[in-house]
Symmetry: C2
Subunit: 253 residues, 2 copies
DNA sequence: CGATAACTTGATGTGACTCAACTTAAGTGG
DNA sequence: CCACTTAAGTTGAGTCACATCAAGTTATCG
């Protein structure tokens, strides 16, 4: 937070953007970025606030600069379901549609680089190279969502929990360090138990039991509610029911 | 089958394509279509045959002309998971990637309009308007996959079964008739029980029990394994746990 | 430091998976 | 074209993982 606050907008031509080299903006020329710079500006949202409500007309899109945004669907009987998590450099918002079928909510305090949706849509049509990047990114996202759907559906809660923990440990590495660095021993999961449960398709109670089970068997150690120490990564992978290669692929998206 | 066999390719300039007005080709000019016509040709696959194996390099893409293609993922322990079903006019294949993370298999006998992948990719880059349509279609698909993920995850098997039956009844209507015609009384689900189970994230046994339960309570009537008569649509909707509006939206994708 | 939310732990009921037998449908070759 | 074979679908019994309800414990924030 403190660091991101002093940075210019994501696509700023000054080039000091934290996520620049990982977002779609990377495909644009200096002039393109200058143009994007004009239609974008940074905004912060407190944890829990709604960025875009389900079914509401959406007028902003953009990139996550910092924090985690949850993409969720609330059914008629009131239970939430998280269908996606968005991390720094991920694009948010629903292009080319009147309204969003899902709600975008700040799962942590977040910093976003927001743009007026119609303005960005016009920009895309005028810049096929960047629209091409958007298409590629969307195709990757589609694969990732399907992969996650396959995981949440065919596996036990323990397998999902283990997968999530391992993927988060890898993702943190992918974002901070470069190359194929080993997984950090400390895993930070910045989500509440309820959000994790909604993402994994289970309840906070069952989730807690599984986490404690992993802690009792010395696979992880609970530092606090959102921090874990990875004592036995190999065992964690075994619990996930996936191969290491698959897990690393999921984490890389 | 018999009818599709005598039709020219999907994007044929002769304009007698069955799915033309629903596929991305609709955005192209006459010249564009002629160009597509040159790189595409129709192929048929027998039920059960693999169009594109998981993890294999993929060299073809295209549109479904007739039949149903299942997009599935096989995990290490061998159980299949269907992450998507493709119907006539849907695009298949993984653009801009070396290999497909999922396998494409013919769930019924299918007729495809296939194109050489690199050739179509080159075509897209040269035709931003059509690539724009691809992006919109992909965004729609992403929404649909997420919506389905939310359904399979938070609902009981009965709710999923009811949803599937209702959506299939609507989808058939959307494809054959035009406008907001009432749902047909006869629902045709051209998939095997195993495929349906893999799609719904359950087993053939549990699926069968739920279908028989609906039949016993006179909500549907089993004509044969793949055909059902809708005796009480309102009850079916009630069993699905969704609103009618939501179901219709799902079916329209 | 007190209040409220977040998380953990316990007890209990049940939906759905598993293994297994049976029935019906779909191919196949003589 | 019909017996034979094999696959597909249905039904049954038993078990278990997980949701639910409820109480207790630990964080978090004013």
């Amino acid at each position: 937070m403190s660091q991101a606050a002093e940075l210019s907008c994501v696509c700023g031509k000054s080039g000091n953007c934290v996520i620049y080299n990982r977002s779609v903006c990377a495909a644009g020329s200096a002039e393109d970025l200058a143009q994007l710079d004009r239609i974008s500006h940074q905004r912060t949202y407190a944890r829990g606030s709604v960025i875009q409500a389900q079914g509401e007309p959406c007028d902003i899109v953009g990139n996550i600069v910092e924090g985690v945004v949850k993409l969720s669907s609330t059914s008629v009987n009131g239970d939430d379901h998280i269908v996606g998590l968005l991390f720094p450099s991920d694009f948010f918002g629903r292009l080319f549609a009147e309204e969003s079928r899902f709600s975008y909510e700040a799962a942590t305090d977040v910093t976003l680089c927001t743009m007026n949706k119609p303005a960005f849509e016009r920009f895309l049509v005028e810049h096929p190279a960047i629209e091409h990047e958007m298409l590629k990114a969307t195709l990757d996202e589609l694969d990732a969502v399907r992969e996650w759907a396959a995981i949440t559906n065919g596996h036990t809660t323990m397998q999902r929990v283990a997968t999530l923990l391992y993927v988060f440990s890898r993702r943190a590495v992918n974002q901070h360090a470069k190359g194929n660095a080993p997984a950090s021993r400390i895993v930070h999961v910045p989500l509440s138990r309820r959000d994790i449960a909604d993402y994994l398709g289970t309840t906070p109670e069952t989730l807690s039991r599984n986490i404690q089970m992993l802690a009792r068997s010395k696979v992880i150690r609970n530092i606090n509610a959102k921090h874990f120490e990875l004592l036995n990564p190999a065992e964690l992978i075994r619990h996930s029911g996936e191969t290491r290669a698959d897990l690393d692929r999921i984490a890389s998206v």
